[in-house]
Amino acid sequence: MDLLTGTVARSGPELDETGLDSLQFDEDIRHLITAPSENANSFIALLELPANQAMELLHSDSGKKECPNVTFPSNTSLLERAARFSVLNGGSNSTDSSSVPSDSSSKNLEKAAPVKSEPLETESYLDSSQPLVSDPTVGNSAPNARACSKRKERGKKVKGASKKSKNEVSKQEEEKLPYVHVRARRGQATDSHSLAERARREKINQRMKLLQELVPGCNKISGTALVLDEIINHVQFLQRQVEILSMKLAVVNPGIDFNLDSIFTTERYFVIILRFNSFVSTQKLHFGLPVVFADYDHTDLPCTVEISEFSQTLAINLNEILKLNLTFSPDKNTTLSGSLIDSNFSGMVMPLMWPEAQVNRNRHQFQRQWQIDALHQPVWGGEEDSHNFITPENSFLSYDSSANSGTLHFVFGSSIFCNTISLSLLVLLSYDWKRNSKCKMMLKIKEHHSE
C-alpha cells in the first residue's frame, strides 16, 4: 500500500499517532472503496462514513442524528489529519488530489470529484465538532480553504443530514467559482430548486462582501439596500473625481505642450533620486518614469552633484536646463507627503509623490522634490519659491562639448544633510530617443571640501 506509506510519510512530521490514524484511515479507505452505490458515492465521500451508515442516512429523513454520532469521533481525527495534509499541501493545487491523502485512494472509485471537496468539508467538520482543537488548524486551513475551494468542482455538494455545519468555510473567497458548495441545514428542503436558490444567494452574499470591503465604510452597514446605496454613492463619487481630475489635466496639459514643442513625443521625465546613507532600492521606475539613483554616504559634507551623460544630443539639451525649481518641506522632521510612508495611497490628495522607493524604510524621511525644467533661456533662481536654497551662486551648468557631457553642479550646504535622507530631482530632459536609443546617465556625487 504505497498510498498509505506515502501518506504516512507526509503526515509523519506533523502528527503524533500516525500509526493509529493510518490504521483507521485504511479502514475508511476500504469502506469507501467498497461502497459502490451510484448517487451515494459522492454522498458517502462527503460524509466519510462507512457505506451502510451512509446509505441509511441517505434513505432516512434528513433529521436523524443517531448514526452519525457513532462514527464521527473516529472521523474527526481523520478529518483533522486530512485538514492538516491539505494545509501542508495547500499550495500545490496542480493536482487536486495531492492535498488529501484519501484522494489518491479515491481514484479507485473513479470519482475524484467528491473527494476533492473533502478538505473543504473536513474543515467544516472541524468547525462544528471540535472548535477548540481546530482553531489553529482552521486558522491555517482558512487560506487553504480558499485554495481548495477554488478548484473546479464537478457539482454542488449536498448534505442531507449534518450537524450545524455553517457555510463559513465555503464562503471564503469563492467569488469566481462556477460552483458553490451548498449545504442544506437541518430541516431545510433539499430539492434542486431551493438548492439552486441557496447557491445563488451564497454567491450574491460573497460578492456583496467583496464589495463591502472595497467600499469604505460599508462594513458596518447591514442590509442589501443600504449597502447598495453606499456602493452607488461611492461609484458616483469616484466618477466625479475622475471628471474633476480630467478637468485639471486638461488645464495642465497645455503646460507640457508649451514646453516641448518640436521634440514633443520624445520628452521624458527623469527622476533622479539622491539618497543618503546608502539605502539601495531596486525600483527602477516611478510611475513609468525612469529613475536614476545616486547614493551618498556622507551626510555632513557639502557635495557637488554632477550629472553627466554620454550622448551628444542629451548633452546639448542639458544646456537648456536652466531653471532650478526647488521645493521642499519646511519642516525637516516630517515628510512632504505623509501618505507615502504607508504606501497605501489611500488619500485622495497627494502632494508630490515619489512612490515606494523610500517607502519601505522605517526611518522618517525627508524628501525634497526638485525640478529642472527645460527652457530655452538661461534663467536661474527661484524667486518664486522661498524654499529654494540653490541659488545662482552655488550652482551652475556647464557643458563640455569635447567630452560629450554636461554637468549640473549643485553645491549644498552641510546643514541640509543632517536630516535628509533623500532628495529627488525631477528632471525634464529633452532628448531624442529615437536617434539615441542608448543613453547613459551617470550621476556622480563629489565631496566638496572647500568653500
Binding site: L228, D229, V252, I256, F287, F293, D295, M353, I445
Partner: protein, 204 residues
C-alpha cells in the same frame, strides 16, 4: 559614495514591453500562497488586479502617452476635459485587458460612434407602460438600486444581479486606481508646467 546609471532606453523599452507582453507579476505577498492555485484565481480578484503596483505603473505610462498623443491630434476648444476624461477611461479599459464587461463596453462606445447611429423604434405598448407606471410598486427598493447601479457601471444594463456585483467590484477597484494615478499625474504636470510658466515669465 556611489554612482548609478539608468538606461534611458529602458523606459521606452519597458513601455513597449508593457504594451506587448502581459505582466503577470503580482506584488501582493498576502496572495502569494494562492498563486500556486491551478486556475490562477487569486490574480483575478479585483483588489489584487488593480492594487498591484504594476497595474498602476502600466496605467500611468499609458495614460501619459495617450494624453500627449491626444494633445497633438485634436484640440476641441470647449471640451478638453471631456476628451481627457474619455481618454483616461479608454486607457483604463485597455488596462483591464478586456476581461470585464465594462471595459469592453467603454471600448465599444468609441467604435459605435464611428458607425451610423441606429434609429430607435418607439415602444409598442407605450400607453400600457404609462398605466403601469402609475401603479408602480415602491417595494422592490433593492431592484431600483440595482437599476441605478447598472446604469452607473458602463455596459451593464441588462446584466444579472450576480454579474453586476462582480462587474461593480472590479469597476470600483479600477476607478480607485484611476483616480490615484490621475491625481499624481496632475500633480507632476502641474508643478512642471507651473515652474516652466513662471520661469518663462521671469526671464523676459
Amino acid at each position: 559614495m556611489a554612482s548609478n546609471q539608468s538606461n534611458c532606453d529602458e523606459s521606452s523599452q519597458q513601455e513597449l514591453n508593457q504594451l506587448r507582453k502581459k505582466r503577470r507579476k503580482s506584488t501582493q505577498t498576502t496572495e502569494s500562497h494562492l498563486q500556486k492555485d491551478g486556475t490562477g484565481e487569486a490574480k483575478n480578484q479585483p483588489t489584487v488586479r488593480w492594487r498591484a503596483y504594476t497595474a498602476r505603473r502600466i496605467y500611468s505610462s499609458k495614460l501619459l502617452e495617450a494624453l500627449l498623443r491626444s494633445r497633438r491630434t485634436t484640440s476641441p476648444r470647449g471640451e478638453k476635459s471631456r476628451e481627457v476624461r474619455e481618454t483616461a477611461d479608454r486607457v483604463l479599459a485597455v488596462a483591464a485587458r478586456g476581461k470585464t464587461r465594462w471595459s469592453r463596453a467603454i471600448l465599444a462606445k468609441r467604435a459605435r460612434l464611428l458607425r451610423v447611429k441606429k434609429v430607435k423604434k418607439p415602444k409598442v405598448g407605450c400607453d400600457r407602460m404609462l398605466q403601469e407606471s402609475e401603479k408602480r410598486k415602491k417595494l422592490p427598493a433593492v431592484e431600483r438600486k440595482v437599476k441605478v447601479l447598472s446604469r452607473l457601471v458602463p455596459g451593464c444594463r441588462k446584466v444579472s444581479f450576480l454579474n453586476l456585483l462582480e462587474e461593480a467590484s472590479d469597476y470600483i477597484a479600477a476607478l480607485e486606481m484611476q483616480v490615484k494615478v490621475m491625481t499624481t499625474l496632475s500633480e507632476i504636470l502641474a508643478v512642471a508646467g507651473g515652474g516652466a510658466g513662471v520661469g518663462g515669465g521671469s526671464s523676459s
